[in-house]
Subunit: 478 residues, 2 copies
Amino acid sequence: MAKGKKFVEAITSMDEDFAKWYTDIVKKAELVDYSSVKGCMIIRPYGYAIWENIQKNLDERLKATGHENVYMPMFIPESLLNKEKDHVEGFAPEVAWVTHGGSEELAERLCVRPTSETLFCEHFAKIVQSHNDLPKLYNQWCSVVRWEKTTRPFLRSTEFLWQEGHTIHATAEESEKETISILNMYADFCENVLAMPVVKGRKTDKEKFAGAEATYTIESLMHDGKALQSGTSHNFGDGFAKAFGIRYNDKNGQLQYVHETSWGVTTRLIGAIIMVHGDDSGLVLPPRIAPTQVMIIPIAQHKEGVLEKAEELRERVSKVARVKLDSSDKMPGWKFSECEMKGIPVRVEIGPKDIENNEAVIVRRDNREKIVVSLDELETKITETLEIVQNALLEKAKKHREEKTYSAVTLEDFIEIADNKPGFIKAMWCGDEACENKLKEVAGVSSRCMPFEQEKLSDKCVCCGKEAKTMVYWGKAY
Amino acid sequence: MAKGKKFVEAITSMDEDFAKWYTDIVKKAELVDYSSVKGCMIIRPYGYAIWENIQKNLDERLKATGHENVYMPMFIPESLLNKEKDHVEGFAPEVAWVTHGGSEELAERLCVRPTSETLFCEHFAKIVQSHNDLPKLYNQWCSVVRWEKTTRPFLRSTEFLWQEGHTIHATAEESEKETISILNMYADFCENVLAMPVVKGRKTDKEKFAGAEATYTIESLMHDGKALQSGTSHNFGDGFAKAFGIRYNDKNGQLQYVHETSWGVTTRLIGAIIMVHGDDSGLVLPPRIAPTQVMIIPIAQHKEGVLEKAEELRERVSKVARVKLDSSDKMPGWKFSECEMKGIPVRVEIGPKDIENNEAVIVRRDNREKIVVSLDELETKITETLEIVQNALLEKAKKHREEKTYSAVTLEDFIEIADNKPGFIKAMWCGDEACENKLKEVAGVSSRCMPFEQEKLSDKCVCCGKEAKTMVYWGKAY
């Protein structure tokens, strides 16, 4: 039996139909199932285990930097949502409304939280009196609801899971520092854990969060050349503080408004992992986020001593990695395919001949490279290989992004690239929203961000030709 | 300055007004805040940290026994909720209904999950075909909503946090085994982590879960003699499987219905911790669940070397316990009171004289015992003391429960006890719901459970005098 033979039902090829490839993977890798609740997803054990690894890593980082977890109600009274004008305009059209409790109609309807700024603000106003009470660095892990018309698992769903951080500070400098420091934490997490390079930058006014003074973002590039906003961090200045009356007595006994931030990443990151690393055999998971890093697959397991040896290896590897042993009665080829579909970074094959030679075969998921290793150094080789795979995935993703990042200095070039070369387009911008709208209209792209790492491609706005203020990353986006 | 002096605002004494004492504690220990959302609570960092410790311990136990976490939608379409008759009758009167998404009225209204049996059943029906697919041992951590008329933080709130386990099995024996094994896990957790003894038993038909064949419960006794249902585990038999068509092909190729269980504990456990261990100075937390186990409080911290020494001790103790150092500029007496209010199991006082003598003073929260220890053996003594406090709290709670558990063999005695002696009443029962109702009416108590550990107090039902079938724990309950 050929080891490479596909035993699990094949998925659509990504070049043929990327959207279909994506939904095939989320179903066949058993990340998600659909339910009778339109637009909502069931996150299955394997998908949820990825989310738990994301949570664990981020939660540790947040706690190490002094953030504390809290839990706010899932409902927001309509009058509370209405308190900050820009915010309610941004969210009211897409919230779910609770109108009845049991058989009684409510006096005031409640929305299911689309985000919790208003609840945090109301709470902050109650608990903050003095400069000694500041800063408050709060975070919550929960689900939120936004009434989306078209949905896709992980990328855009009516309900999704996220963390939302909400902090208040004495000064504008401190809130800006927090906003940037969280953005850097997100970027580091994406690069070093998810093996996904990101562009850090600021959103234009048109694209910023409802109620924010400044929104910062990390933008990543998917395999098909579309951009994915992967995390955002907002500085609210004192806008919400004024709307909600969040004030403190400073050291001189003067009443001052606090400065506020909020920031979040969501289960969307799982969609990003799929679309950055996956291939036509299924998921490819970076070792640092993979629920199972190593799968041990016995060959000819009916033969004496094979299963025992495989179990012995599992036990040994469990000291250095998250490992499982597939001792089911499926054929090895089937097990290989399942391992590939689930994106398990490394598989270890062990059969009678390997045992005789005191060897095992390590196979990398990312490039299928096979390495024959002595059993004496199995743990070391596994650890090394996981590290190599992690780095290789990041390098590959970086290379992909570089190859798909283009520059345009004329509108003609810009449109030509947008029409024919999926990817990021770097181009200068005058700062006028009219040009943003026009580029959307003529090229179908939106501004992704004004990157922190600026380049001066030309003096002029790619759209109107007037003086350019900043370089912008543009692209089609999820 | 007298060390025992109260610096934080005093709380109501528990003997004077237990309900007021309880709400004073949840506010002043900063566990909870109220919001403008009626019946919903804000769980503040200290309260949430307790919940995180509960989660961490239970989640490890669940994973170690093969359970996997998943996430189901928070909404249930009305038609789905209606699928199991008893279940919908039990829950429909107390659910919140979403009727609008954005500005559009929904074709079918959705309830916010009060519990997720129906969603799990729908999913199970899709993913289970063969006996190889069984068992499925699923759990989810989430919040649920039940439209309660009168609410109290942690004990009864419109929204609360919980874990809900949902499992399906091939046979009735396996589902019963799972139901009991989870109940035992809950009981072990309560006793060994929360230092809270529980009575394990089965609910009467009147008190069982809507749709269950059998509901098992752990019942604990609060300081005021009221019972608290602290966790439940339900065996559904094949009732839900039949309503939702969850079938599998057995080894002989015959279609069979699965057997199902569900079980849960909630943030209510935090209310139990408060009411079992707390005193008139505030919370008393068992060390194994306390977010901060040890607080180091410098005395005369302005004197040279004191803060440095305190920080050195904090660093050392951090190797063996969750420790903090209070180096704020509050007076030591104030810090002591805060420590007591927050129930921190052990505080360490270190001042210039202690440093000179190479000593520190360890003070237990539960009985205020002071122990002078050599700094050379600080870590050992801290570890020992935390263990001693943990055990002492369990012993005290057990003693309290024993003292407040009464037996009655006549109705007259039963009423006399119910009227004058708050606690559990053990009494025989014929099994007839009419007697349950009558005891509620004449004595104001409900059946808590039919305990696994039965005693034969008499041959006759305490209420009607007919032949007794079982001994029941009765009590007034939260």
